[in-house]
């Protein structure tokens, strides 16, 4: 009685496998869908373009300037407010800072440090947090309890205090900032990932994998983590500006990167000190890059969240 209905699904058999592969239809993956939706999001796409320009600026910006970050122009020193204004003609595009150094190069260099801190800090947090959270969530039971209580303990320590202590005791260096920020940033990530894993691990496709005999670690890597990526990617883009803000705050307090190197936070800190002496540009230029970057990341994060939202699928 049912053979009639089954008919349309039967395909004529072809012997040659290679021949069959040729006519494979490329699947429309969830990622392809997400990409399409993301490209349709104007704010996010503008942000991507702006962010690319800022990254290019931080990498190659130095090459169009004849100055460097630490040479002091002694002629200007003491008269920066009048003589050190931004000028295209003398090559000091962003003017001078209060010590007579070329601000353009310092902004380029500061952008590089801030972006690096943001991206690398977020990356470390994401990798560590994802693996830690997915493991805790998937294994469950006592292992989960111990791992998550550990996270609770870390979270209960005021991290700014730890960070400042670390920088004071171990000395100010970029490495210490990475270590300090990385130590705390993965905690939130691991919690989010654990929660997601808990809901994933009871899904039938994971059960199917268990029934097939796939080992635990491979289930985590092949089935759990790829399905977490949507959440993780979104959270990572929101984590980058958070990292940049943290670093800026530390540098603003004067505990961040060491002279002659600088970062957006340090530049802003110097800028606020001199803005009352008619050197508003010293604040305006780093502030512009800082604000634009943070906004870009927020818009991209928003765009990704919309694009990856399963409800729209």
């Amino acid at each position: 009685m049912t053979d009639k209905l089954a008919q349309p699904f039967q395909q004529p058999k072809t012997a040659d496998a290679a021949e069959r592969m040729v006519e494979n239809v490329q699947g429309r993956s969830l990622w392809a869908d997400a990409r399409r939706r993301f490209i349709g999001n104007k704010a996010a796409m503008v942000s991507v373009v702006l962010l690319t320009l800022i990254v290019l600026f931080s990498i190659f910006g130095q090459s169009i300037s004849e100055y460097d970050i630490e040479t002091i122009d002694w002629d200007i020193l003491g008269n920066v407010a009048n003589a050190g204004q931004p000028s295209l003609s003398n090559g000091h595009f962003f003017g001078f800072d209060e010590n007579g150094r070329d601000l353009y190069n310092r902004v380029v260099q500061g952008s590089r440090i801030s972006l690096a801190v943001g991206v690398i800090g977020a990356l470390v947090a994401v990798v560590v947090g994802t693996i830690y959270g997915a493991t805790a969530g998937y294994l469950g039971g006592r292992v989960d309890s111990i791992m998550m209580r550990l996270v609770d303990i870390f979270m209960s320590i005021p991290y700014m205090f730890v960070l400042i202590l670390l920088l004071v005791v171990a000395g100010r260096s970029i490495t210490m900032i990475f270590v300090g920020i990385g130590l705390t940033a993965w905690l939130d990530m691991s919690r989010i990932v654990r929660g997601q894993t808990l809901s994933l691990k009871n899904r039938e496709f994971v059960e199917a994998a268990v029934a097939t005999g796939v080992p635990t670690w491979r289930i985590i890597l092949r089935h759990i983590v790829p399905n977490l990526l949507g959440v993780v990617v979104v959270y990572a883009t929101l984590l980058v500006p958070q990292m940049i803000l943290t670093e800026s705050f530390i540098s603003f307090l004067g505990l961040g990167v060491q002279e002659p190197f600088t970062s957006w936070g340090a530049l802003l800190s110097e800028g606020t000190k001199t803005m009352n002496y008619g050197m508003l540009w010293q604040l305006a230029f780093p502030l512009f890059f800082f604000v634009v970057t943070i906004f870009c990341f927020f818009f991209i994060g928003d765009g990704l969240r919309d694009a990856l939202d399963p409800k729209d699928r």
Partner: protein, 604 residues
Amino acid sequence: MALLSIRDLNVNFQSMDGTVEAVKSISLDIEPGKCLGVVGESGSGKSQTFMAAMGLLAPNARTSGSVMLEGQEILGRSQNELNQIRGRDMSMIFQDPLTALTPHMKIGIQMEEMLNLHSNIRGAEAKKLCLDWMNRVHIPEARARLGQYPHELSGGMRQRVMIAMAMLNQPKLLIADEPTTALDVTVQAEILDLMHTLKTEENTAIALITHDMGVVARMCDDVQVMRHGQFVEGGTTDQIFSNPQEAYTQELLSAMPRIDGDDVRPDISPDAGTVLDVTDVEVTFDVKKPGGLIPRTLPLRAVRGVSFDLAEGETLGIVGESGCGKSTLARAVLQLIDPTQGSVAWLGRDLVGLSKSSLKPHRKDLQIVFQDPLASLDPRMTISASIEEPLKEFQPGLTRTQRLEVVADMMERVGLSANMINRYPHELSGGQNQRVGIARAMINKPRLIICDEAVSALDVSIQAQILTLLKDLQAEFGMSMLFISHDLSVVRSISNRIMVLYLGRVVEMASRDQIFDDPKHPYTMSLISAVPVPDPKVEASRQRIRLPGELPSPMDPGAMWRFLPSRKPEEGSVEMPGMTQVAPGHVVQEHDSIEDIHRLTPQA
């Protein structure tokens, strides 16, 4: 004059992939006191037609045509005007009673809200009316229920509350969108009875949206068949069932496995060797009991001592209502859940207590097909990657091309075109995804496949295809099957033997024909009598066997004695009813006669 009259209704949805025409020039009429069945498979636009009539369409929908309720046009009205009509003149019952009630509001408050919106009945009078309706939909202890939250009620109870709520303002039209699909057969039968009473006593017009021809045969006066958003055929129920004109209607009717069908399923030859021997398996979960400072845990005995064996190439059907432990039993057999007690012997070797690594060689032979085809496939993997995964585990020597070759062969064997190899699960239909699930289970040529409600989520015609596929595969590869379902007609069409579970215990086990032709246990009888038959004449003459009371909670220690009230032991006893053999291969749990059960059960 017709109460609701729909003329040339079109519904389009604007989506990113272009315009989707969900409903194409549908016309229908419903008279007061009549029940119109709107039948069709998923995607036929049957729900959208009535969502349009209620003004509940998604914002990206465009409609044209006309929907007249008592001569008033519904389409194009503002939300405010629609709110006046909805709930007062027409109400809707949804498929899932779990999500249709607001979880944080007490039942009574939610019901009174309906009254507040559409009438000026307030206070004590409103409470009385709510209570009155709760009684009329046969909710036991109605007064206490009004103060409870939705999660404290069972699914069937919640659906009754939904109906009571929908009927509070005495609407002239009740739209029921698959009202019983999510419910067990016995509960379904009760809800249908209730709706029938409303129709005859209150003269309410009912639009019953369903895919189940059996429900239509039991309930409806007129039928309208829809497919792909278009009208296929309409007429009185007798006409449609006795003399369907369109090929599609005939297919729908014939595709549905019938509980009174005359198809045969040959017995397994008696010398086939036993492959699986399950003895006294028990599974106990710890359930947290709230209250007190330290939460206590209570044992929930999901499966309590089930024994059966399975011969090579045999299909054992496992039926029972939700919460009877059938899925838990399946997972205990596969060692996905550790049984608390008992043994599961596979080819003479006990699997219980084996370590993961010593269990792995057996995993090749023991496979499972799940209920929800989409959820059982990894959404981030192409379907070929999913099918391929067991191969990677058990035949690591194969190269990628060899594996793809095997996968492509299996895909064609289960009726999927091999050029879909790079597709993702969300691009395929439910039936296609279930074929993928079967291909994944079959790829290593296992000797036992457990189908856990494998066809329950599918449309009837797809259901028939999948059942045929499973039977064909079994004939070809000779594997044994455990076929778990709440749908007795489906189980009947595929099983050699059938086991009926009730609260984690076997109440009856026999060959397929013994169970359906000569059921002994009252529970089996009530299950069989509750299944609707897609034939209005048979439906009219069938007698329903009803059991007193609600399905008790598995936590209730007395629940086991529901069918043997004459010998119910003292509180705290661990004794359970025994099993007796009534015929060769036919075992039944001890029970009282139905009359005695009715007489001895205290009425709620």
